[in-house]
Subunit: 203 residues, 2 copies
């Protein structure tokens, strides 16, 4: 099976897929994508022009990251990064949605600076996005998810949390760390248990 | 089983959940949420402050809409709006991700006008979001999804497409219609086959 991943080195959603593929024992050929280039094949692979996209051997695209993670889990026989069913599966998927939402809100803050001249930036919009990140981190600090995932490695929710915190380190200089000691300890534990986390760190 | 849905009348993602619940035969008590009100319990139910959120009897929250649709399908025994597994499940989930992405890009255009004074609005940002909607619609116009879903009713991808088109009707005066005759016919067919679509139209 030959699978191609379209992503970019700093994408936190792409990092989720890379970690998941390692945990599921699935090899991915990575072809970097430029989301700003209209000529990049990305926009025909995913009309939204978003990364990551997984291309199957026949070229059929799979996105977004939760769907790719479900596919990779199925490739590995199931039950590796996602519980097969039941309450626990829904809990893991909801945690993944929370951590994806934290990444989305962080990305919208980055885009505000990257895509707009200074006069078109909005403090109110930045505050709204920062509030989503702050409330998400506060909820997770109060109750970090248990380590160990489905198969003893890590589940999709844990992978999402690690990538969200890694992205805040990358783009916001780790400003979240002083106020969230339980999450700092959680991330240290994750990195120690899942070598794929360091192996996929953006250069 | 008593389930509570937090949503707002025009939310296209909330409409997905309402249609899915009807197709799955699950009753939802709807409690409207105000995403702009910091005092609304929404922000403790979902730290992201986003709708829809489904609350189980014990208060445990489920989000975002793809996770809620999976939960509702499981409540109905599975295989009602989502194939249980295999290639077809991944195709349906990818279609859902595409239609959710169209809604997200449409919402970001609405927010640009709603949340910013005129000087802080960006034509470039609006163009980027409009491009995602246009490319998504073009891809779907070229190959509308087959009707009939998993159980003969409708699957999560079809529900997503109907709600995306319904939202473009609501907020962009149906400007998509003249250039997308195949999707107009598709939506007419969906509405005729799935009465829950009209029953959940925003007032």
């Amino acid at each position: 099976m030959s699978l191609q991943l379209r992503s970019s080195p700093p994408s936190p959603f792409g990092r989720k897929v890379k970690i998941a593929a390692i945990l599921c024992g699935v090899h991915l050929d990575i072809v970097w994508a430029d989301t700003t280039d209209p000529q990049d094949a990305l926009r025909t692979q995913n009309p939204l022009g978003k990364i990551p996209v997984l291309l199957r051997e026949d070229g059929a695209p799979i996105y977004d990251s939760p769907v790719i993670l479900e596919y990779l889990d199925a490739c590995a026989g199931g039950g590796v990064i996602l519980p097969a069913g039941g309450e626990r599966r829904i809990e893991v998927l909801t945690l993944q949605a929370l951590t994806d939402g934290i990444m989305d809100a962080a990305l919208l803050q980055v885009y505000e600076a990257r895509m707009r001249p200074e006069a078109e930036r909005s403090d109110r919009w930045l505050d709204i996005q920062a509030g989503k990140v702050a409330r998400g981190l506060a909820a997770l600090e109060a109750a970090p998810p248990p380590h160990g995932g489905v198969s003893g490695a890590a589940d999709a929710g844990e992978i999402g949390l690690a990538c969200a915190l890694g992205y805040l380190d990358l783009r916001f200089s780790g400003a979240w760390r002083p106020d969230h000691p339980a999450l700092v300890a959680w991330l240290d534990g994750f990195a120690a248990r899942v070598p794929a986390f360091e192996a996929t760190r953006a250069p």
